[in-house]
Each structure stands twice: as C-alpha cells, then as structure tokens.
Symmetry: C2
Subunit: 338 residues, 2 copies
Amino acid sequence: MLDERKLSVLRAIVEDYVTTREPVGSKALAERHSLGVSPATIRNDMALLEDEGYITQPHTSAGRVPTDTGYRLFVDRLATIKPLSAAERRAIGTFLEGAVDLDDIVLRTVRLLAQVTGQVAVVQYPSLTRSQVRHVEIVAMSPRRLMVVVISTTGRVEQRVLDVAVDLDDSTVAELRNRINEAVDGKLLSEMPDAAAAVAEAMPVEVRPAVAAILATMVESLAGEGEERVVLAGTANLALFGTDFPGSIQPVLEALEEHVILLRLLGEATAPSQVSVRIGHELPVEGLSSTSLVSSSYGATGVGHLGVIGPTRMDYPGTIGAVRAVAQYVGRILEESS
Amino acid sequence: MLDERKLSVLRAIVEDYVTTREPVGSKALAERHSLGVSPATIRNDMALLEDEGYITQPHTSAGRVPTDTGYRLFVDRLATIKPLSAAERRAIGTFLEGAVDLDDIVLRTVRLLAQVTGQVAVVQYPSLTRSQVRHVEIVAMSPRRLMVVVISTTGRVEQRVLDVAVDLDDSTVAELRNRINEAVDGKLLSEMPDAAAAVAEAMPVEVRPAVAAILATMVESLAGEGEERVVLAGTANLALFGTDFPGSIQPVLEALEEHVILLRLLGEATAPSQVSVRIGHELPVEGLSSTSLVSSSYGATGVGHLGVIGPTRMDYPGTIGAVRAVAQYVGRILEESS
DNA sequence: CTTGGCACTCAGTGCCAGGGAGTGCCAGCA
DNA sequence: TGCTGGCACTCCCTGGCACTGAGTGCCAAG
C-alpha cells in the first residue's frame, strides 16, 4: 500500500512541517527534498496518504499537515533518533554531577530537560515502592507516639508520625527497630508487607497487635500511591507554542496541574528503560489531546519516570534523543550516590 | 488637587474597566454611575487625572485606562474590601478542615485560593526559621553518620544526614539528644544557634568540637534560606487573562517558575498579618510588571505567607477579601493541629 | 465651575479586487 | 502501468478604501 516513496513523502512532510510550522505543499516538497519525482507525482502520493489518514489539509487550497497517525507512523518507522552532540552530553554530565542531594538532582534534571528540549519537562521522584530500603528508624517521641523514618537507596527520606494504642517502652521500640531493619534491609518497599508480617510474629505476644497495627500503617502510608511526586519545569515554553494549540493553552496548563494524571501517564509507558512516545489523542486526557508525551523510565530498576510534553508538532528525533540521554545520566547519578 | 468628585471618577473608571476589560469613556461613565454631572465635566476631570498620571489612553479617541499609580490610589483610598459571603466562608472552613497533614493543608489552601479568586495562588510552607521546635531527634545510622530530624509545631518535619569526623557512641548521642531537646524545645528555630552553642559547651570536652560542628551544620542546613518552599496553583487561569498581558504570558510563567523570587516577594510584604498589595511595576521583577500581587502572612507569628498573582486589572476588593479570609483560616487550622 | 456644541482623531469593520499557493484532473508519453 | 506537464479551479491572504462610531479637546455661554 505504502511504497518506499510514499513513506519518504510522509517523512518529508513531517520534517518540513515541524520546522516551518506551515502546511507543506507538493511544490515545496519537490524543491527542498530530492525525491526524484515531479510535484504532480507527489500530489498523487499525497492524495493517497490523505485517504489513508496520515495527513490532512486545513482547507481546500492549502498544503498538508500530518495527523496523529501520521506522526505515529513517522516515529515508528521513519525517524532515526538524533543522538546528542558530545558537547551536549558533556554539559549534561557536569550539570548533573553538581547536585548535592536528591531534591537537587530532581530539580536540576527537570530544568535541564526543559532547557534542552525547549518544552515542558516532567520528572517523577524515584518511586518509593520500587526503591530498596536502606534504613528504617523508629523513634518514640512519647510513649504512644512513634516517628518512623524510611530512607531509600535513591536518597528519598520519608517520615510519618503514628499514634499507637499501647504504651511501648524504649527497649521494645529498640527491638522493633532492629528486627525491622534486619527484615527489610535491601528489600523493595513493595516487599515490606510480607517482611512486616514476619516481624510482628516474632515480637512478644502482648505487643503483637500493636506492632502489627504500626507496621500496617507504616507500610500503607509510605508505600501508598499518594507518595509519588512529580516536578515540572518549562511551562513558560508552552506560551511560545501558543499557536499550536487550538484556542488556548489553558486546558494544557490545567492538565499539567493534575499531578496524579501526569503520574498515571508516565507510569503507563510501555517498555521499561526505553523511550515511549504517545501522540495527541493517544493520550487519554482531554486537555492534552494536541500534545505529545515523550517519556522514559530511569534507573536500573525503572525506579522513576521522566518525560517531555510538547505540541504534537515537535521534533521527535531530537526530543527522543534528549529524553533518552537525560534518563541515562540520571540513572547513573542515582547509582553513584546510593 | 483631587477633590471628592475626581476620586469618584477614578473609582468609577477602575470598577468599570475591571469588569468590562475595555477603556472607559466619559459618556459611559455618566450613564452607568450616578455622578450627577455631565460627560463634559467628567472629561475635564479625566484630563486632569491623566495629567496627574492616574489614568492613560491607549490611543487618541479611546477611553481611559487606569495606570499602576491609579490602581495604587484606588487600593489605598477608594476601595472597600469585599468580605466573603457567609456561604463562602463556610465552604472554606469545611474544605480546609478535611486536611490530614501539613502537605495536605498547603495543597488544599493553594487550590482553594486559586479557585476562589480565579487567579494564580501562591502559598509558602510555614517557615522553619519562624516556627517553634517541637522535637529534635538524633539517630546514629552508623558510627560516623547521624540523622537529624526536626519537627516544628506547624507540622513540618525536616531531616538531614550528617557525616561527622569522630566516632560517637550511643550514649553520647543519647545525651546529645536529651540536651538539645531540653535546650531548644519551644524555641524558635532562629534562636537555635545560641542554644546550640550552650549545648556544645556542656558536653564532654573530647567530643566538643565534633558536637559543635554537628550543631552548626544542623542549624545551617535546617534554618537556611534554601529550605523555604512555595506551592502554586491556578496557572491555567493566566491563559484566561491572556489579553491582559502585553504580547504573551510567557514571561509571567517564567517568573512564576522562579520560586526563589516568589519567596522574596512574599517576604517583602510590609505590615504583618495585614494584606499587602503590590501593583505592576512596584514588583521588582521584569516578567511580573503587568501583574499585581496580593499577599498576606498567616499564622499568629507570621510563620508563612500566601498570596495571589493576577493581572493589574484585577478585582482588588474581592481578591483582598479572599486572601485575608483564607490567611485567617489557615492560621486557625495550623494552630488547632499543633 | 459646569454645560452643550462642535470639529477632529482614529481604531475597527466590511467590502472588493488581485495575487499566490496549492490542488485535482486529464491527456500524453515511456 | 506509472510519471509528467498543463490547466482550470478553489480559497486564503493582503492591501486599499470608505464608513462608522466612540471618544476627545476646546470653546463660548450660562
């Protein structure tokens, strides 16, 4: 159905449209790309591509514009990812090296990504549920109030204050601390429920229910969905692409404020440690129907995700390259600092 | 210079312009407001108001628009703050009551403020330096690595991991913990340096330098500028006012991403526990020169700030009322939960 | 000091014609 | 069968033009 030349035409249309922001016509294509055929032939091909739904015209006597499916085909079969230049890679490296703690790493990453791609960057904090536990600290603030602090290998530190129904003396707390650390050290937080159950079993019978309750609360509050966090940067870049969004960037900004939704989108990315691209209406979010999301997980265990959101008319090869590179660097930095 | 009637004219211009978004002319003023004089008289007044710099015309043969100084005069002398309706107050109360922890309080507050005012809301986390210390916990994670956790009465919990040069055994750490808690309990974090010095003095001489170093690092890292945080909501509302910003909302969005700057602006607000209004070029930030900031501190001790950022052409009486009300409620909630 | 009248300015709108980019279709050619 | 050049057609965009209407500044009279 689509022979080699028609694919070339589609590629040329996407590339030209991305750079010029204007519908591209057959004559311009014949001039700017060496397709070896006349405009008339290209017109025939374009008519067919339009029938197949890959391109469309804004109005009768205008050039063609890629559709979502057109971009999809381009990304899947026609684009070759643009690797970053050596200088760019070096800049990324040194910029991220300078980070002092996890907050700083995430902040730098998201700003970097926004700056490199010129679009909106999204970075998720390393997910606690996928991180390994490095240390658990339990402190009795008062006889019936405990503070639990969990430190992950990725550097996240989360704490909760729990009220318990039974007085717990210091030695019991100390024992609990030791047992918990023994049980969960190096484990994924998602494995904690099982480990916690075992710990409760091993404690003296009179405190067992209290301990079980503590552990349950602890696991729930630390490993819950609510603990995922994302950070954004570069929303100002949206205003530069204002014309790319039908009407207004308002719905886009609204969608970006819903961090829960962003987290879901990032999480839905398919293959681990590979860049995923979701285009226009492929994103199941109203306000983002004219944007694309280029995302990837980072870290060896896919401990978090990051991505870039921009208009569907974006430079996919470049953006994919940037996202991939940044994800790699962040993963490396996190491993070094753990 | 400005008699009563001219002030009324200015007030009428501001009110009309805020609602209609269009330059207002003498005839319209005479019709919509009962000023008791003819359009011609109003024209004379307007000419004078323009000479004084309170209003301006976008072009000849257009109506008048308030200038920054015009708004300033309006806010200072002409506006009567619009208190929220009973229903609104009730809604605020119940919405904020539902919060489960500090993060939740802040999140709900900022969303509420954005929703009520229809503009961009900014809420600063309770400042650690102005909070009282409720509890300090020191935990030896390994002989040379300590974790320090500080809990404030406002519910903020901050932790740091410190590496120390000397081995500290458990009993020393325990003693340190007790002494610190004794010394700083109920004190403002800003008073900690003094308290810390006294603690170091009282420790055994061989660990004294190490302890002093720990305390110094601790105070510095916890009470430093870097620890202030702000949260935004309602940036999407900016797009609705797009036409109010010359050119683009891009510089505004950019400025909003600079949290450090926002913090500075919030902190500069003058009178404590009173609503401060800064209009247009009064804000020393390039990108915000066509916006106004209505802000207030909250909490009895002015422990944090919150505010609203919108176009200079905003409903000042309503916004001031909303900011004041929300600040009061947040303060109350924080006290209840402390 | 206020008021009505009057001339003037100028943004905004609707209309129209011309130019241009682009398309679809068709007939001819390899 | 597929490519190509030619041609008529569509429709957006631009610029010019006249017109309207809101609004102003000024002035003379009350």
